[in-house]
C-alpha cells in the first residue's frame, strides 16, 4: 500500500511536554519569574554559605542596628539587626527556607488530595461526582484562616501541623479545576479506546488522563503555592504559625509590627521579599498557562 499522505516528519520527535517547555523558554515572564523563584530557592538552600550569622543568636548589645544604606549601618549586618540583636539578613535567608518549605509541602498535600478527588469526580461522574461536589462545597464554606486559627490554637503549633492544616485546607481549587479538565477528557475517543483495549481504570486515570491535565495542574499549583506562603505568613503574623526559634517571613513581619513607625524597614524587608516571591510565582504560573492553553497544537 502506498502512502500518498506521507509527510516529512521531524527526525527527532519532541514530546508535547518538551515542546511546551521549549515554548515556555521563549516566554519573557517565564524567564523573569523563574529566575527570581530559583534565586530565592538557592538563597534559602545556600543560606549558611551566604551569611556567617546564625539567625537565632541574640546579641543584646547589637539591638536595632539599621541596614547598611543608612548612616549608622555597617557591612557586618547588611540588613541590620532586630530587637534582640539577631542578624536580619540571616533571618531573611533562613526564613525563606521555612516559607518555601511550607509552600511546597502544602502544595504537595493539597495537590494530591485535590487531584485525586477531581479526577475521580470528573471520570466516574454520577454518584462519585455528586458526593465529591458536596465535599468541595463544604470545604468552600469553611473560612480558611479561621479554621487554621482554631486548629492551631487548640492543638498548638508545629511545622508539621502547619503544613498539614494548610495542605488539608487548600485543595479545593485543585479539585475544581482537575474535575472540569477531566470531564472534558473523559469523552475523548482515546479514553474510550483505552477502555476498549482492556485498560484498567488505574491505567486510564494515570496514563491517559493525568498526563493530559498537567497544564492546568501546574497553573493551579503555582497559584496555591503563593496562596500557602501567604497563609503561613498570615498565621505567623497572628502568632499561630511558625514558633521561635524558627523563623519565617510572616513571623518577621509580625515581630516587627511594633516598630512600624520607628523602623519601617524591619517590616519593609520581609514584606518586600514576600511580595517578590508571590509576584515571581504568579509570573511563572501565567507563563505556563499561556503556553499550555493552545491545546489545539497537541
Amino acid at each position: 500500500m502506498t502512502n500518498i499522505e506521507q509527510t516529512t516528519a521531524p527526525s527527532v520527535a519532541l514530546s508535547p511536554g518538551r515542546m511546551t517547555l521549549h515554548r515556555a523558554l521563549r516566554h519573557v515572564s517565564f524567564w523573569v519569574g523563574g529566575t527570581i523563584v530559583l534565586a530565592i530557592i538557592l538563597a534559602a538552600i545556600l543560606a549558611p554559605a551566604i551569611t556567617s550569622h546564625d539567625p537565632a543568636i541574640q546579641d543584646l548589645a547589637q539591638r536595632y542596628i539599621p541596614p547598611v544604606w543608612t548612616e549608622k549601618g555597617s557591612w557586618d549586618h547588611v540588613l541590620g539587626t532586630d530587637n534582640l540583636g539577631r542578624d536580619y539578613f540571616a533571618r531573611l535567608l533562613y526564613g525563606a527556607r521555612i516559607s518555601l518549605l511550607i509552600g511546597f509541602m502544602t502544595v504537595l498535600i493539597s495537590g494530591a488530595i485535590g487531584t485525586a478527588l477531581g479526577v475521580c469526580a470528573g471520570y466516574f461522574g454520577g454518584w462519585a461526582d455528586m458526593i465529591i461536589n458536596f465535599v468541595i462545597t463544604i470545604r468552600l464554606t469553611l473560612p480558611v484562616v479561621l479554621v487554621a486559627l482554631v486548629v492551631v490554637a487548640l492543638v498548638g503549633s508545629s511545622l508539621t501541623l502547619l503544613v498539614m492544616v494548610i495542605g488539608l485546607l487548600l485543595w479545593d481549587r485543585f479539585a475544581i479545576v482537575v474535575r472540569s479538565a477531566t470531564q472534558q477528557l473523559a469523552h475523548r475517543e482515546y479514553i474510550t479506546s483505552a477502555a476498549a483495549i482492556g485498560s484498567s481504570t488505574w491505567r486510564i486515570l494515570f496514563k491517559e488522563i493525568l498526563p493530559n491535565i498537567t497544564g492546568p495542574l501546574i497553573v493551579v499549583a503555582s497559584i496555591e503555592l503563593a496562596h500557602a506562603v501567604l497563609l503561613e505568613a498570615s498565621l505567623s503574623f497572628l502568632g499561630l504559625g511558625v514558633q521561635p526559634p524558627q523563623v519565617s517571613w510572616g513571623l518577621m513581619v509580625a515581630e516587627a509590627k511594633s516598630q512600624l513607625l520607628f523602623r519601617p524597614w524591619m517590616i519593609a524587608v520581609p514584606g518586600a521579599a514576600l511580595v517578590l516571591l508571590i509576584f515571581a510565582i504568579n509570573l511563572v504560573g501565567d507563563a505556563i498557562r499561556d503556553v499550555t492553553t493552545p491545546e489545539g497544537k497537541a
Partner: protein
C-alpha cells in the same frame, strides 16, 4: 449460517438527561435492536446523525452497558467476559483520529498499548510486533517514534487501525472511520480495511452516515432510524430495491450531483425527531412520503421479510435503481 459472532436481542440503551434542577428524563438512544452478524461478514450500519449508531458500537464494545436485552459476542453474553478477554475479541476504530490517539504518547506506545495492558511479551518482542503491524497498515517506519500531533489525519487513522489489530481480534467495529478524513485519504483507508478484513478474516461492523462508503465494503446493510433497525438485508438487495422509504431517501443522497446542480438533499421535510420524544406509531411517519395518515400514525410496524427485513406499512416495493432516481426534478 449458524456461526453468529454478534447477536443483539431487544437491546435498549437509556441515558438520563437533565441537570440537578431540570426534570429528569430518559433518552432512549437504542429502542430495541435485533441484529445478527455472521463470522467473516461485514455489516454496514447507516443512519442519520443522532440515530444511535455510536451507542450501538459502544454497547458492542462493552464500554457502555445495555439497559435491557442481550448482547452475545462469540456465543457468550458480553458481560461474561473480563475486560482483557473482551478486548482480545473485539476492537474499535473511531471516527476522529484527532481525538482517538493520546497526544502524550508516541505512536509506538499507542500501538503497543494493548499488548502492554495484557502483559504480553517483553519490551523487545512488543516493539517488533508494533513495527510489523505498522508495516501492515502502511504506516511509514520513521513515524513509529513520533507523537500524534506530527501525523496527518490518514496516518493517525492507520495508527488507530494498527492498535485495533495488534491483538488479533475477531471483530472490528469501525465507527465512521473515514468521515473525518480528506476525500483522497478516505478511499485509501477503506481499501486498507477491505484488504485487512480479507487477510485476517475479520467480522466487521462499518458505521457510516454515507451509503457510498458502505457500498464498497459491506456484505449486508442495516439502516438505523431513531434507535432501531428499520431495514436489514444483503447489500445488493438494499442498493437495488430498498423497501423502507427512509432507506430510499438515504440512497438518493448518495447520487453525485451533476456539475452546477444543487447538492442532493435527503428529501425529508421534517427535522430528525428528538429521541426524547419519539413520534407515535411508525416513528418515521412525520417525514415519510408514504404516510397514510391513519395506520402509520397509530401502529408501530413490526419487522417483515426473512433475509431482507424492513419495518414499514407501505414499503417501496417497486424496483428502485439508482438510475431511475437520477431523473432530475428540475
Amino acid at each position: 449460517m449458524m456461526d453468529d459472532v454478534l447477536v443483539m436481542q431487544g437491546v435498549t440503551r437509556d441515558y438520563p438527561v437533565g441537570g440537578a434542577f431540570a426534570k429528569k428524563r430518559t433518552l432512549r438512544a437504542l429502542r430495541g435492536i435485533d441484529l445478527t452478524v455472521s463470522r467473516g461478514r461485514t455489516l454496514g450500519l447507516v443512519g442519520e446523525s443522532g440515530c444511535g449508531k455510536s451507542t450501538l458500537a459502544k454497547v458492542l464494545l462493552g464500554v457502555e452497558e445495555a439497559t435491557s436485552g442481550t448482547v452475545l459476542v462469540d456465543g457468550h453474553p458480553i458481560e461474561s467476559y473480563g475486560r482483557i478477554e473482551r478486548a482480545k475479541l473485539i476492537q474499535p476504530v473511531f471516527q476522529d483520529p484527532y481525538s482517538s490517539l493520546n497526544p502524550r504518547m508516541t505512536v509506538a506506545s499507542i500501538i503497543g498499548a494493548p499488548l502492554q495492558v495484557r502483559g504480553e511479551g517483553t519490551g523487545d518482542s512488543r516493539r517488533k510486533r508494533v513495527e510489523e503491524v505498522a508495516g501492515e497498515v502502511g504506516l511509514p517506519r520513521h513515524l513509529i517514534g513520533a507523537y500524534p500531533s506530527q501525523l496527518s489525519g490518514g496516518q493517525r487513522q492507520r495508527v488507530a487501525i494498527a492498535r485495533a489489530l495488534i491483538g488479533e481480534p475477531k471483530i472490528l467495529i469501525c465507527d465512521e472511520p473515514t468521515s473525518a478524513l480528506d476525500v483522497s485519504v478516505q478511499s485509501q483507508i477503506l481499501n486498507l480495511l477491505h484488504r485487512l478484513k480479507q487477510e485476517l478474516n475479520l467480522t466487521m461492523i462499518l458505521i457510516s452516515h454515507n451509503l457510498a462508503v458502505v457500498h464498497h465494503l459491506a456484505d449486508e446493510v442495516a439502516v438505523m432510524y431513531l434507535g432501531r433497525i428499520v431495514e436489514h438485508g444483503p447489500s445488493q438487495a438494499i442498493f437495488d430495491r430498498a423497501h423502507h422509504p427512509y432507506s430510499s431517501a438515504l440512497l438518493k443522497a448518495v447520487l453525485p450531483p451533476r456539475p452546477g446542480s444543487r447538492l442532493p438533499e435527503l428529501g425529508l421535510e421534517a427535522e430528525f425527531p428528538s429521541p426524547l420524544n419519539p413520534p407515535s406509531g411508525c416513528p418515521f411517519h412525520p417525514r415519510c412520503s408514504n404516510d397514510d395518515g391513519t395506520t402509520c400514525h397509530e401502529i408501530d410496524p413490526e419487522p417483515s421479510g426473512t433475509s431482507h427485513t424492513y419495518r414499514c406499512h407501505h414499503p417501496d416495493n417497486f424496483t428502485q435503481t439508482a438510475a431511475q432516481d437520477q431523473a432530475p426534478a428540475d
